[in-house]
């Protein structure tokens, strides 16, 4: 376990990294925290939550903690949680994973709420990279679909991109629910409001990714069936011209002893003329039917 105590002017911040259950139980005893609450801070994959205890506020939030392109749609694969306990004189943070953004926090923080909001700000910032990565991925998808590189378009990547966007969006929606329930001192209202706006902006971008993804998949399907239609037309045109002609040449390839046309000196030329005529008729008919 790593434990780190920092004293600010008016309050104390105690940060526990990767504590064992037994260690934690002892350390936290003076605060009278319930057993079930303690478990929440240790449970892998616990979703964002807020709970008002007698003398403490308890919040769990999750920060995005892997590389943006990591392909997973499991909350515990993509994110790690921080548990906050705070009252007017103390902020306790508990987390399994070490976070860089917890290190360089300045000294000019006036109360535990402000510090908590500052950490929340940095947690929200962790979602910016994967959100941008998804946005760039969408730009790539759009290029593949619209610049006639359909065969490069990866439905596989689209599927996992959607799953990831959905998980991130869900976590941010839960975070929004939590932040909307946090009640802070009037001095901190504007800071908290700022984080809610950041959150809304991230949710908007993930929403756009999801909307675009569905829209693009439909476009991809329609483009594919349009291409199939074109290829079918081509096949039909080829067949419509050559099937009748090949039949005709087949007729005069028969070996009957009595076929008057065969001995006609112009038979060959008449046949060629007939075939040209048939081709022209088919062409005209196709033009009229708007197939060619």
């Amino acid at each position: 376990m790593g434990m780190n105590v920092r004293k600010f002017q008016t309050f104390e911040w105690v940060d526990y990294e990767n504590p064992k259950k037994s260690e934690l139980a002892e350390l936290i005893k003076p605060f009278g925290i319930d057993y079930h609450v303690l478990e929440d801070t240790l449970q892998v994959g616990h979703l964002p939550k807020i709970e008002k205890l007698n003398n403490l506020n308890f919040i769990i939030l999750r920060a995005y903690s892997v590389s943006p392109e990591k392909q997973s749609s499991t909350i515990s694969d993509l994110t790690n949680k921080i548990g906050f306990f705070y009252n007017d004189s103390t902020l306790i943070t508990i987390h399994q994973k070490g976070f860089k953004f917890l290190e360089n926090i300045g000294d000019d923080i006036e109360d535990p709420e402000s510090l908590m909001i500052k950490i929340v700000e940095r947690m929200l910032e962790t979602y910016e990279k994967p959100t941008e990565w998804l946005s760039d991925l969408m730009d790539k998808f759009e290029k593949d679909v619209f610049l006639h590189k359909l065969q490069k378009f990866s439905v596989h990547d689209l599927y996992y991109g959607k799953a990831k966007a959905r998980v991130c969006k869900k976590l941010l929606l839960l975070t929004q629910t939590v932040l909307n329930q946090v009640q802070v001192h009037p001095d901190n209202v504007t800071k908290l409001q700022d984080e809610k706006e950041t959150l809304y902006n991230l949710i908007h971008q993930l929403d756009e990714f999801l909307e675009d993804a569905n829209s693009l998949l439909n476009i991809y399907i329609s483009t594919t069936s349009q291409k199939t239609n074109e290829v079918m037309k081509l096949l039909t045109i080829f067949s419509a011209f050559f099937l009748p002609l090949t039949f005709i040449v087949g007729v005069y390839g028969m070996n009957f002893q009595h076929m008057p046309e065969l001995s006609n000196p112009y038979g060959y030329y008449y046949t060629i003329l007939t075939m040209i005529l048939i081709s022209v008729l088919i062409f005209v008919w196709f033009k009229r039917k708007r197939i060619i």
Copy 2:
């Protein structure tokens, strides 16, 4: 009927397994429970509910009670109910089916509410296995669709997986509605909160299964039509090359007595050259049209 009475320090727990209506009516008479309420505890497939009676709280919840892979989408096939009646001094539980998890309950329980919450916790745990089973099923589906084993992908299993996920989700949403209406003593708020979070987590996982299932079916359809497109292209290419060539060789297979080309000593070679030329032209045209 199996009846089991357990005395705790401050209260009594009476558990009825598979009681007959008449037996139940008599046993429960002292509590003045209404006839309609009694019927609820016996009705097969009754959905989760909460009702405040004069002197008792009445709750029905359902535990998942078959093997995870059981293929059904009927509430009464997949789950069995437990009815709870409780006040400050007594907890009565009524259920048709025997549940293992009702057996090894410890002695350190302080009030009927705590015991009820403990049983609810174990009921919710019964949904974990089928939820994980569905999640593993989705992983299998994803492998089938994305690792080019389309023919192994079973829309049949997807359909029944979705139906089952929907039923489980619906039951858990109803359970959520019930738990949100339960009012407990302040000491038990945190325990109950923990169960609501477990519930939310299960609902989230079923939600993900349903979202992924819809997403994957769309991808499967788009992949199928993409494959059809490729096969059609192949057919069109084969036809476009061989239909004209076969026509040409057909022409010189005709038996007309007067066909000057036939007696030309280079006729055969000219014909072959013409056919090569036509093939090249078609190839170039296909290249331009981005079909090849």
Copy 3:
């Protein structure tokens, strides 16, 4: 008009079957019911509603009144209404159609509310048969789609099943809205609650039908396009093998006087070997491309 008056211990029940407007106006005059309210009870296809008049409660509900398999999606085709007016001493019911379930009502009913709830119970029971019929229909659809009897699957029946389920669900949702607004004496709360639960259960089953229907139609479409894909593959395979071979035999069917291969004593066998070679090459290529 059929009018039927029944006296219970503490109240009176007046039942009017198929009254004319003029008759009704006169009969109802002593209760001071508004003209617009009266019209509601006579209007064909009026939706479920509740209205609190000065001295009476006014409710309209609709019972399913045709055979379960009747193919219609019009509220007035499928259902018939009963209008209820009641206060502490009287229940008046007005309906155009005769209902069997109004006949054998026992004597042990204590107040007009209880009688109204009893009739509502029997009205809700009329929806059970069509709901079960729809559920059986879905089982048939599933068999058709999954047991390779695609050609027996009737999109026509699916479409009308959906329309009917939607109408029944809508009526039950309106009934739910009405029942949630009904305020009854504490003694009757549990009875009314029971009917709300019955209602919820019916809505759930219709919901499941609708979800399954949409899911199954998507599966049907994907299965159809999968079958098309397989048939196309077959066609492509046949064509890919026989188009080149037929071309080759066409070449040696030409009648040129100067074709050295024709006089080669092994020409025929070389040609057969070439064709076998080509077939093998195509087979290998198809295997590699995973088409065969």
Copy 4:
């Protein structure tokens, strides 16, 4: 401008048809109506609204004002508005277009609210014809799709029918929002309730049209792809039988000098037998694969 004043027993009704802005400004001056409110009554395409002014109630509603089959989806094309100002002693109505239903209003109206509700009733009645027209259109669509007249089914009409239903539904939903905010004297509550029910019924019917339209388009797509599948099967069957046979007859059409089969006196019959055998094999294989 047409202005029409009618005196009832306890109040006055002033109806302005197609007033100019300047005229209106002057006429309405005594009531102290705000400039922006005045503009609302003149703005083309203004949506339904309600606003409480100091001493007046102000309502805008829209009546359907063109023939039912008119193909448009613009609010101002399909409907025209009436603006109502009223207090206890006066009702002012302002509208650009003349409405027949404003003419034959009886004398037995007791207050401005009643008159307003009566006019609203007649405005809602204008939506009945287009709603029925859409319902008949849907019946025609259903016949086209299900009675094997797919080629008569017009996606064009479906598209515009949907757009129109959506616009009408939206206007009626806005009207519902307005009517739910109107507060009337207890004597008029039942009359107003009646109009809300009429409104609900219209919305229900448009809802059904929209649901049916989406459902039917999906069925149409699935039917089309089913037909394509059948046609492809046919093509594949024809090809699978004739491609091999045509190849075989091509083989014996070759002109090699050394082909032992050609001089075999039974060669022709053996070949025919071989071809029958191949046909039977293909037939059996197709039967097994359930293609035939």
Copy 5:
């Protein structure tokens, strides 16, 4: 930085265009505005918001600021923000981009709220052009799809049109949320109401675009698959007629020495009759199967 101070009868309007952070910090110091609030006015792409500060109201809204046909779906590409701070005696507006509509504001404005509402009105007017442009685009799409110019229909334009409509709609919905929270003096309620109605109207039109776009894409897909079906039918018809006939002529093109038909003087004519008969049979069969 451009700063512009205008004095009205009862208040002052200070407009800052493109201020630097440092400049802004100094200028705004007397009003005691929080640091985080200041940042909001400078942050690129900040979404619409409202915040009540101690002595000031703070609003951010966004005006559409590029040409209607600009193809982008990013909030900061399409729109620019104006930040409003106001109390009873002052309106401060802050914006990066210059807006023409801020220039010609009349003198007859009575209070800062009225001026703010006037500017909001002009901001909303900026959305009218792109909304109309989208509406015209939809008319073009509809012509392309329904007037048999399917190949001119651009799914690319549809996709970007949808993305743009979605972004505009979202901004307007956020603006609606903001305006619904603005509390104004009774004199200004009607003016503000007017803007809310304008807003609703714009949202309605964007909604219609999005609904139409989805509807049209489905129609396009169904039309494409209908066309494919027709082309396939044609191909199948051609193949069904010519494959058997070509086989027959192939049979009599075989070079067996012993083929009795070949020496029959009517063999050729019998063969032609047989082929006519087969054609008629296929034709009748196709007619029955409703393929022709």
